[in-house]
Amino acid sequence: MTTGRRLRQWAKRVCSTRTMEQLIDPIIADLQHEYAQTKATRQMMRAAIVLLRGYCAFWIVLAVHLPATWWHRTIRGLRTSYEESFDGAVMPAVIAMVILTVALIAVPAQRSNQHGFLGIWLLVLLLPQSIPFSIPLSLFTGIVCGLRRRPVTKTVRRTVVSLGLAGALVSVSTIVWVVPVANQAFRTAIARRVILEGPAEMSSRELRNYALALRDQGQLAKAGDLLFSFHGRWALAGAALVFSVFGLGVTALRLGRIATVLVVATACVVYGSYFEELHELTRARLSLFSHEGVALMFAWFPNVLMLLTSLAFLTKRDDQRSTAII
């Protein structure tokens, strides 16, 4: 078998044709030539070193330079083509949304606090709770404002989806590892004594196991409530990607300034209040959610609806463009 053939086959699955031509194929070609030449001189030790150095070069390219190339071609390309307005819109939106969501969470906490004004440390503990809300909303606002009335090119789509995926990853890590710990620390600090973990302080696995145990004991309403919370957490984690794609869809519509602001505000308010309102509406029938399929469906409903709407917006715009060309 030719040296590096398997590496090349593997790289072909993850790299673009251009990357293969410019980076991977030259490295493997060099490796094959140098190895064959050294082997022909019967210097087996040296040939092994050549092979090792070639493999190292291959993995360095994949591990270090592919992200750099991706950054160069997508984010920097986007910044260049849009005169950095994308950054200019995303960053203020992220900061504004983080402040807003922290405020929305901190105000009720402050009202219920009997021991005076919340300190900086307690506000810091509230920050993780705000992240899963602020990431999708700020990405959405930033994307829509930054790309307003501009064409949704392939680079833009790729960048926005990458941003959404990165946001979803941050949300998942925050929800799974940070929020339960921060919530418990917040409650302990407020109560000034050690208290037992509530459902919001449980990890996702603990929450689901607890809900299933309650369901087995026949406490269907409470089990339904907790199962809905469990699936709601994951839906919220996926919201970053959904909102990013929705932002693309809204951009593709090329709305005016007022219409854009209205769409952004409506989407944020509707999504933000969905879980609360649904909880209120179904208060008498929470046992419905004890069926895992129902809980999953209701928790993911806004995400699926937004995703379908975005695809419809994007397709509609593509149709209009092709009609115009004809």
Binding site: R8, P26, I27, A29, H33, R53, I60, V61, H65, A68
Partner: protein, 106 residues
């Protein structure tokens, strides 16, 4: 109203790109590993192709595949040579560096 300003992009040359261009101008057509060995460890195997790819996108160099090797088998190597733009950019950068940085000329 925001004024639309179109500016021509000024060609830039990083130190590594400059080194690659210098070697290619001096030695002529070469493949990646030759550049690495001639650079006296200033270019690395893992980074040279990224630099070459970026320079090709900028139009400073062009590449072609050599004829597939008959005896060894495997992939053909990629050979690089400077373009006219690359030569001009290198000479301009060298001149600017000489004028702005006196120590560069010593």
């Amino acid at each position: 109203m925001r004024e639309m300003v179109t500016t021509a992009r000024i060609p830039t040359l990083s130190p590594k790109e400059g080194l690659v261009l210098e070697l290619l101008v001096q030695q002529g057509e070469m493949y990646g590993l030759q550049l690495v060995s001639l650079s006296k460890r200033r270019l690395k195997r893992g980074t040279v192709y990224v630099t070459l790819g970026r320079m090709e996108e900028k139009g400073y160099i062009r590449s072609r595949l050599e004829a597939p090797p008959a005896k060894i088998g495997g992939l053909p190597r990629r050979l690089y040579e400077p373009t006219a733009l690359g030569r001009r950019v290198l000479s301009a950068w060298t001149r600017v560096a000489r004028e702005l940085l006196p120590e560069f000329a010593r």
